[in-house]
C-alpha cells in the first residue's frame, strides 16, 4: 500500500490546519465563486497573487453561508484588498 507516510529517518509530520476544517459545500453554493477564481487563474497564467480578489470573494461566500467560521478578512491576509476597496464587493 502506498501512502503519504514513509518511515525513513526523516518522517513527514502532518500538521492540522490553523483554523480547522472547511465543511464540504455539498450543494455547490459557492461553486460560482470558485469558477470565477479558477478562470482568473487560467487567464493570469496561474499567478495566485493576481486572483486574490476572487479568493477573498470565495471565502466571503463561504462565511455568508455558514461554510466557514467568520473571520475578519484582514486576518486572512486580505488587509491590502480591504484598504483598497472599503465599500465595494466584487460585482456579480
Amino acid at each position: 500500500m502506498s501512502t503519504a507516510m514513509n518511515f525513513s529517518s526523516k518522517s513527514f509530520k502532518p500538521r492540522p490546519p490553523d483554523k480547522g476544517a472547511f465543511p464540504l459545500d455539498h450543494f455547490g453554493e459557492c461553486s460560482a465563486f470558485k469558477e470565477r477564481f479558477m478562470q482568473c487563474l487560467r487567464d493570469s497564467g496561474y499567478e495566485s497573487g493576481a486572483c486574490r480578489q476572487h479568493s477573498m470573494a470565495y471565502l466571503q461566500c463561504r462565511m455568508e453561508r455558514q461554510l466557514m467560521a467568520n473571520e475578519p478578512l484582514e486576518k486572512l491576509g486580505f488587509k491590502d484588498l480591504i484598504d483598497e476597496k472599503p465599500e465595494a464587493k466584487p460585482e456579480k
Binding site: S11, P14, R15, L24, H26, K34, R52, L76
Partner: protein
C-alpha cells in the same frame, strides 16, 4: 504563489460508488524540506468528510508559505512545491496513524 501571501487552491473529489463514503484525508508536501514552511489556515483535511453516492465536491485549501522560506538558503533552488492529499475510507473504530497530530 509568493511567500507570506495567502492563497487558495482547489481539489476535487468524487465518490463513484452508489454508497455514501466517509473519508478522511492527510497530506504530503514535496520537497520534504519545504513542508515546514507550508502553513494551512483552513482545509478539508483531518476531519471525516462524507461523500454521498456519485457526489462530486470541491475541496479547498487556504494556505500560505512562511515568509522565512525566502531566507532559507536550502530553499534557494526550490521553485515548485507540490501538495498532495490521500483519502482514506474512515472505518468504524479504526484510528488512522497521524504522527504529530493529537
Amino acid at each position: 504563489v509568493v511567500p507570506g501571501e495567502t492563497a487558495l487552491a482547489f481539489y476535487k473529489a468524487k465518490n463513484p460508488t452508489d454508497k455514501p463514503i466517509i473519508g478522511i484525508s492527510t497530506y504530503n508536501v514535496v520537497p520534504f524540506e519545504a513542508g515546514q514552511y507550508f502553513n494551512k489556515i483552513q482545509c478539508f483535511c483531518f476531519e471525516e468528510q462524507r461523500l454521498n453516492p456519485q457526489e462530486e465536491v470541491d475541496m479547498p485549501v487556504f494556505f500560505y508559505i512562511d515568509p522565512e522560506f525566502a531566507d532559507d538558503p536550502k530553499m534557494a533552488k526550490v521553485d515548485l512545491i507540490t501538495l498532495s492529499y490521500t483519502f482514506f475510507e474512515a472505518k468504524e473504530g479504526q484510528k488512522l496513524p497521524l504522527p504529530g497530530y493529537q
